[in-house]
């Protein structure tokens, strides 16, 4: 599997040639892998194969587990891998139910990776932090509970920057995850483990969390699809809070359809999360039309705004041309593409870092060693707290707690927190205006493709600047879909570049529809890392 590059199987689901179908070749570099087939939905194939008895859930689980075992030493995407007996037992149970003609959920047999800051009752959940080393929660996060109820199998807990604070997964207290496209590079972060795991087909889909881009930027770096839902679409219950007003649980998958199906599974109001929305959840899956049914201009009339400020200075030229290529592809599909300006765009980054750090400084107060986690031995109350936290938190987390504490302090509150909230209002309004005039906005997901491990570790400002493309979306609470749209040079086979599509609040449906058509019609791009055999078409 690893190191055996095989020609991809010919898929029957998505016909390769349709004369009327618009075709845009994605930006090719000399290193781009040859490809002809668009991504397929692993979830739909699995369901089809299980129900037609072509394969058993146990066989499926075993195949993912064995690939995981092979690739994991090179990638370190998981902090905890479920006991394989337990995984196979769950799969066998599903097989029994299928054999008995019982109804199984839409995620039956789907192997899922869960970011380690999302609580799982039966396995450790550390948030990538020493302070929670060995901590096993008492309960499943709502999103995890829903996945399990629908037949999904949690295969393990994926690595992340401590409590989601970071853009490379290097800030994990336990290990550094490698990018499957080039193991000397970072997978992005903070959901780097979840993105790498999907990219390397260690699992079918994974859950990440996105506070300032933590699902979308690693999706871009690892060449997978990442979906950040509207704030309130998915319950945060069980997600270890980093910045409560920005945090959302997001989905990663190898196709738009997979992320959409996963989103559908975890969405909806939760009485345990007062900020979760009561809006009805549309059936996203109905958007995933087979491309042979598409007209020549399937996206005719769709207004697409390219955010000018995101294709400016500081963005890699390779990334810019990939995004411009994607814009032309959308035009080919019938969209009217115009360049628009969001003048408040550059305000997003400082506002984000003030608000996120302020909330983090409060949310992380509970890690005091009194009730759970590691407790320092101390003679005095202040040192009990001080020592437990000094030993438990890593430097990035400490820095953000300090920044946030400062920003909320008497005398500074108005200058920092309050002002940042005002900026947030401005940003929200400017997005609202732009989305009244456009159906979707597009931008890169990150200013560059994946960079080398250690490259920015000593330069936090450079690292923070990398979040420029994504943080505004969190401040506005909007949904955004990132999907691979091209390559830049790097590694052995080029590095993937992600296109970000931003939609109106609670309009994930449109993003998924556009994303699906985009991905199915993009030619000559195959977003499977060179060393991974994609034998997941069941």
């Amino acid at each position: 599997m690893l190191a055996t590059l095989q020609p991809p199987r010919t898929l029957s689901r998505f016909p390769l040639y349709l004369t009327s179908r618009p075709v845009t070749l994605c930006t090719l570099t000399a290193q781009s892998p040859p490809s002809t087939s668009p991504p397929h939905s692993q979830i739909l194939s699995i369901r089809h194969s299980l129900l037609t008895r072509q394969v058993t859930a146990a066989q499926l689980a075993e195949s993912y587990l064995s690939r995981l075992r092979l690739t994991e030493p090179h990638l370190n995407s998981f902090l905890h891998v479920s006991d394989s007996d337990a995984v196979l037992r769950q799969a066998a149970l599903l097989d029994q139910r299928i054999a008995g003609g019982e109804d199984v959920g839409p995620l039956a047999g789907v192997v899922v990776g869960v970011k380690d800051n999302i609580c799982t009752a039966d396995m450790p959940s550390t948030g990538g932090s020493r302070v929670l080393e060995g901590y096993r929660p008492a309960y499943d996060a709502t999103a995890v509970r829903k996945i399990k109820e629908l037949g999904g199998i949690v295969v393990g807990k994926t690595n992340l920057d401590e409590f989601g604070m970071g853009s490379t997964t290097e800030a994990s207290a336990f290990q550094v995850t490698a990018n499957p496209w080039d193991v000397s590079r970072v997978p992005g972060g903070s959901s780097g483990g979840s993105a790498a795991a999907v990219s390397a087909r260690q699992c079918v889909v994974s859950l990440g969390s996105d506070t300032g881009g933590s699902v979308r930027q690693p999706a871009s770096f690892c060449g997978v699809v990442g979906l950040k839902p509207t704030y309130g679409r998915v319950s945060r219950y069980g997600l270890m809070a980093y910045a409560s007003s920005l945090d959302v649980i997001g989905c990663l998958g190898s196709s738009v359809a997979d992320t959409g199906i996963l989103l559908h599974a975890i969405s909806g109001h939760d009485r345990l999360d007062a900020t979760s929305s009561k809006r009805e959840v549309p059936d996203f899956a109905s958007q995933f039309a087979s491309i042979n049914l598409l007209e020549s201009k399937p996206l005719k009339g769709l207004r697409v705004g390219v955010i000018r400020e995101t294709l400016d200075e500081g963005v890699d030229t390779g990334v810019i041309s990939a995004i411009r290529g994607a814009a032309s592809h959308l035009e080919e599909l019938g969209c009217s593409v115009t360049e628009i300006s969001l003048p408040s765009f550059s305000l997003g980054l400082p506002a984000y870092y003030i608000l996120a750090s302020s909330e983090a400084s409060s949310n992380l107060s509970r890690y005091d060693g009194v009730r759970y986690g590691n407790q320092a031995v101390a003679d005095e109350l202040n040192s009990l707290y001080g020592d437990s936290r000094a030993k438990g938190f890593g430097p990035e987390v400490k820095m953000r707690i300090l920044m946030g504490t400062y920003g909320l302090s008497a005398g500074y509150y108005d200058a920092y927190y309050k002002r940042a909230q005002q900026v947030r209002t401005i940003i929200r309004k400017s997005f609202k205006t732009a989305l009244d005039e456009n159906d979707i906005l597009i931008s890169p997901a990150a200013p560059s493709a994946a960079y080398k491990i250690g490259e920015k570790i000593d330069d936090p400002l450079a690292m923070y600047a990398g979040d420029i493309m994504t943080v505004n979306v969190n401040l506005a609470g909007l949904p955004a879909l990132v999907l691979p749209c091209g390559f830049v040079e790097g590694g052995t086979a080029g590095l993937p570049v992600g296109l970000q599509m931003i939609g109106a609040a609670f309009d994930e449906e449109k993003l998924l529809k556009v994303g699906h058509i985009f991905e199915q019609t993009l030619q000559n791009c195959r977003f499977v890392p060179p060393l991974i055999e994609d034998d997941t078409a069941w």
Partner: protein, 557 residues
């Protein structure tokens, strides 16, 4: 509502005054007339919702440690608060009852500080936009303290959550022995043992302990997350009695509203008092001192009086600068306040809006519907009783306890005479309750029967003496006045023919005495009356009896 052990201010005040133990009082007495005390009170009222403010855990005072906890109130990673809407309802009730202005758009904020009994490292509270602000409370000072009506201002009312409790005992000093094996080594206190014991039953580790100096501290989080209302008064009180009466009126108010049991011993109503003094005529406030650990109204009153004396003495000795902004603890045993902690500047709680909870939005319709549902409040009740012609002593007694007041109201609603009903309740019924340690809700007598009893006596069906007999039967066993009268055949004989028959019988059976009477020994009338009453089993109407008897005795036969 548990009002059995509920002390009320009035009851407390009936205790004999404590002997003067404060030597300094005498010294400062001659100066005290030159100074005026300024007193403000922060009261925390625990709301009696079925479940906690932000999770589904019930709260019962006195449950074993950490038996009423969940991921939310324990502050476990990933857990989120969801507001119990009942908290809003009760807060609105109190806000309206205190004549406050409600914020139709308020929010929750986080108040941040570290303490082991605060699981999240912050308390969910309200900061710059409390649910209610402004307002006032009216009260009548007890007659024995000179009486008088007072109106004290309310600054604000806000919602917040309670913290847990620290349990500690010195290493090894506990004497309880529970054998549970295997017990971790660090289990050295009783509570730790209890906690360990529970660890085996609960689905998650609830063993919350930490070492601190020579103590093994344990945290009991049962109380964490219980909803509180913080009610802040204006600095309008001037004496310990006024402050105690303010607190007592708040207790009365929350009990009338049914929002809290208002019990001070259980900590359902907690008062922190701020006291400062200033020379009379000075507009500027003096340095204020906060007093904590006040577990009864009398301790509120005595602690304040002590503190005023202490501050006056310092002032009069030219040591006014020794009064520093600090928190002092009331020591009940020693009857004095002692320094607990000096204020280390202004604490910075780094308040910011709670992002996990949406804003609290009240509609006018909602507020109006609650306004319509408010019961008659103590002040209105007192004014009404006053208008009925009751004395202030009676008014204060009857209106003090909401259940007594309701009993009284129900009795007069059944047509009972106001003064008679008040007398029965304050007299024999109150005495019975006191002796039997029962509340008015626990006695078997119902208002309708008290009204019936009063009417029966007034209407002459039974005598006052038999009325009392019936009352005690009703208090202990219940039943109806009519039933008891019938059962015991106690109806007064008012038929003259009937009485005449008995009189005739007595006269004919006592010819000797009759002769003596007619011979001039008229004192024997009493003897005959007694015989007739005896024969009628006490039921003969005394007036009729005497009238008929006299007629017969004096008749020429």
């Amino acid at each position: 509502m548990k009002s059995t052990e509920a002390q009320t201010a009035t009851q407390e005040k009936q205790k004999p005054p404590l002997p003067k133990i404060m030597k300094q009082t005498k010294t400062s007495d001659k100066f005290s007339k030159d100074y005026e005390a300024v007193i403000g009170i922060e009261t925390h009222v625990q709301l009696n919702t079925l479940t906690k403010a932000f999770c589904g855990c019930p709260y019962n005072y006195g449950s074993p440690p950490n038996t009423s906890v969940c991921p939310i109130c324990m502050g476990l990673p990933g857990a989120l608060p969801v507001l119990n809407s009942k908290v809003i309802e009760l807060a609105v009730k109190v806000g309206l009852a205190l004549n406050s202005k409600l914020s139709l758009n308020s929010k929750f904020d986080r108040k941040q500080y570290f303490y082991p009994d605060l699981p999240k490292g912050y308390q969910i509270s309200q900061f710059d936009v409390p649910i209610a602000s402004g307002g006032y409370i009216d009260l009548d000072l007890p007659v024995e303290f000179g009486g008088g009506h007072r109106r004290f201002g309310i600054t604000r009312v806000h919602m917040e959550e309670d913290a847990g409790k620290l349990l500690h005992s010195e290493n090894g000093s506990y004497s309880q022995e529970i054998t549970v094996s295997p017990l971790p080594k660090y289990c050295t206190t009783f509570y730790c043992v209890v906690l360990c014991f529970q660890e085996y039953k609960l689905p998650f580790s609830c063993l919350i302990r930490f070492k601190y100096q020579s103590y093994d501290l344990c945290v009991d989080l049962n109380r964490a997350g219980v909803p509180l209302l913080e009610i802040v008064s204006e600095p309008d009180m001037r004496t310990g009695i006024e402050a105690a009466e303010y607190a007592a009126e708040l207790q009365r108010l929350v009990r009338y509203l049914g929002v809290s049991n208002g019990n001070m011993q259980e900590g359902s109503l907690r008062c922190d008092v701020n006291v400062s003094i200033r020379p009379i005529g000075q507009a500027q406030f003096g340095t204020k001192v906060e007093i904590k650990n006040l577990n009864s109204f009398s301790s509120v009153s005595r602690a304040i009086d002590f503190e005023i004396s202490r501050q006056v003495l310092l002032h009069s000795q030219g040591q006014g600068d020794q009064i520093t902004q600090e928190t002092r603890l009331w020591e009940e045993g020693a009857q004095k306040t002692v320094t607990m902690r000096k204020k280390e500047g202004l604490a910075d709680y780094r308040y910011f809006p709670e992002p996990d909870l949406p804003g609290v939005i009240l509609t006018k319709e909602y507020v109006n519907s609650i306004l319509d549902s408010l019961p008659e409040l103590p002040e209105v009740k007192r004014r009404r009783y006053e208008k009925m012609g009751l004395s202030m002593q009676d008014v204060l007694f009857l209106a003090n306890d909401v259940n007594v007041a309701e009993f009284f109201d129900a009795t007069i609603a059944k047509g009972a005479d106001v003064k008679l009903a008040a007398n029965w309740i304050m007299g024999d019924i109150a005495a019975y309750m006191k002796n039997e340690k029962l509340t008015i809700n626990e006695i078997k007598l119902i208002p309708q029967e008290l009204a019936e009893l009063i009417a029966s006596i007034k209407g002459g069906t039974i005598s006052g003496k038999i009325g009392k007999e019936i009352l005690f039967a009703l208090l202990a066993k219940g039943g109806t006045v009519k039933g008891l009268i019938k059962e015991k055949d106690l109806v007064q004989i008012v038929d003259p023919v009937e009485i005449e028959k008995i009189v005739d019988k007595v006269l004919s059976e006592n010819p000797k005495q009759l002769e003596q009477y007619r011979g001039g020994k008229t004192k024997l009338q009493g003897y005959f009356a007694g015989q007739v009453m005896k024969l009628s089993k006490g039921k003969a109407n005394p007036e009729l009896l005497n009238k008929i008897l006299l007629e017969k005795l004096n008749a020429q036969s």
